[in-house]
């Protein structure tokens, strides 16, 4: 397979570098937000807090996959075969949360 088949060659190296550093700052900023929120909400326990942290994790994951792993520039078909099967994990989480509720009641 030749290497020249890529879709991204319209961008100049300077543009790509700029995008990489922008992503770095976004990731760092989100991590700092994580830590600040952790201390701000130290005595507050709720499912919403956990959901918020997981959502921040998903946003970070999006930037890593889209920019660092180049998914944004690949064909939609590739994104589909990787991301769609992974969505099955949501079913596992859903089942485990139901089961966890019952186990909690038994303790």
């Amino acid at each position: 397979m030749e290497h020249t088949e890529h879709l991204e060659h319209t961008e100049s190296p300077a543009d790509i570098k700029k995008q990489i550093w922008r992503t770095f700052w976004i990731l760092s900023f989100l991590t700092v937000i994580d830590i600040v929120l952790y201390f701000a909400l130290l005595s507050y326990h709720s499912m919403w807090k956990n959901t918020l942290f997981i959502l921040l994790g998903v946003v970070k994951a999006f930037y890593i996959v889209a920019v660092f792993m180049h998914m944004k520039f690949e064909r939609k078909a590739l994104a589909g075969i990787i991301i769609l099967p992974f969505m099955l994990v949501l079913v596992l989480i859903w089942l485990v949360l139901i089961e966890g509720g019952y186990t909690f009641d038994l303790r």
Binding site: E5, T31, G57, A61, V65, M69, E74, L78, V89
Partner: protein, 251 residues
């Protein structure tokens, strides 16, 4: 004229065989498939953590140990006496992960693990810069950024080794845990160990690629696609850490 017909034929037969319908090479596609399966492994581990975490009530005490406050050597015993650590409650992460190298006796919750997170994000950036240099066939730059990535990986592994030894010194193991339920320490060692092993494999792979870059293997081949494939793996390791960090240290 001949050109346009070929283009039309190509558009028509995307799935007709003879070329990759994903416009990526075989190796890269397989790396993606491998990462998908690996993502399932990590998801099951983290979902297990979430499940067991969910079935234990969180420590109910509202007392907060202030960051930076000086703590005695018997911090764990004091926490147990205050009922902040008990086998019935899941421990609060800021009371467990509160050490920093060379700053013994200070309560520094999450500082060390944040440092580890930044080390890993930064090594991901140097990796993607190596890939970018590879597109321009700039051998020296690729080698330089690969070396930085390897150093980042080694730094992360050293941090993890220190954290593990600290945790073990305090009495945590796969079958015992001074902070709370046994499952807490067991899951910590299994999940961070599995991730750490991925980082270790990544460092080994990066090193092999680094030697090949210096050797001129990819220069002769005409492209640096191997750097991209290893890069995908390395970013995945960073991606997993985002969630290990979220589940173990924030929730």
């Amino acid at each position: 004229m001949a050109n346009t017909t070929t283009l039309e034929a190509e558009k028509k037969y995307t799935w007709g065989g003879g070329k990759s319908p994903f416009t990526v090479s075989y190796g890269k596609l397989m790396m993606w498939i491998f990462l998908l399966s690996d993502a399932f492994s990590f998801s099951s581990l983290l979902v297990t953590y979430g499940f067991i975490r969910f079935t234990f009530p969180a420590s109910g005490a509202n007392e907060i140990v202030k960051p930076l406050s000086h703590t005695a050597d018997n911090f764990v015993e004091a926490m147990r006496e205050a009922h902040l650590f008990s086998p019935e409650h899941w421990p609060l992460p800021e009371l467990v992960f509160n050490h920093f190298p060379f700053l013994h006796g200070l309560h520094l919750p999450l500082f060390f693990v944040s440092l580890m997170t930044f080390v890993l994000i930064f090594s991901s950036v140097t990796m993607v810069l190596a890939v970018e240099a590879g597109h321009r066939n700039a051998k020296k730059e690729v080698a330089f950024y690969m070396l930085l990535t390897i150093f980042g990986g080694i730094a992360f592994l050293s941090c993890q080794a220190w954290e593990w030894s600290q945790f073990i010194t305090e009495g945590a193991s796969l079958h015992g845990n001074p902070f709370g339920p046994t499952a807490f320490a067991a899951l910590f060692f299994i999940v961070t160990g599995f991730h750490g092993f991925h980082v270790f494999s990544g460092v080994v792979l990066n090193f092999i690629i680094y030697v090949n870059v210096l050797d001129g293997t990819y220069e002769r081949r005409g492209h640096y696609e191997m750097v991209e494939k290893v890069g995908l793996y390395w970013h995945f390791v960073d991606l997993v850490w985002v969630f290990v960090f979220t589940f173990f240290y924030l929730i």
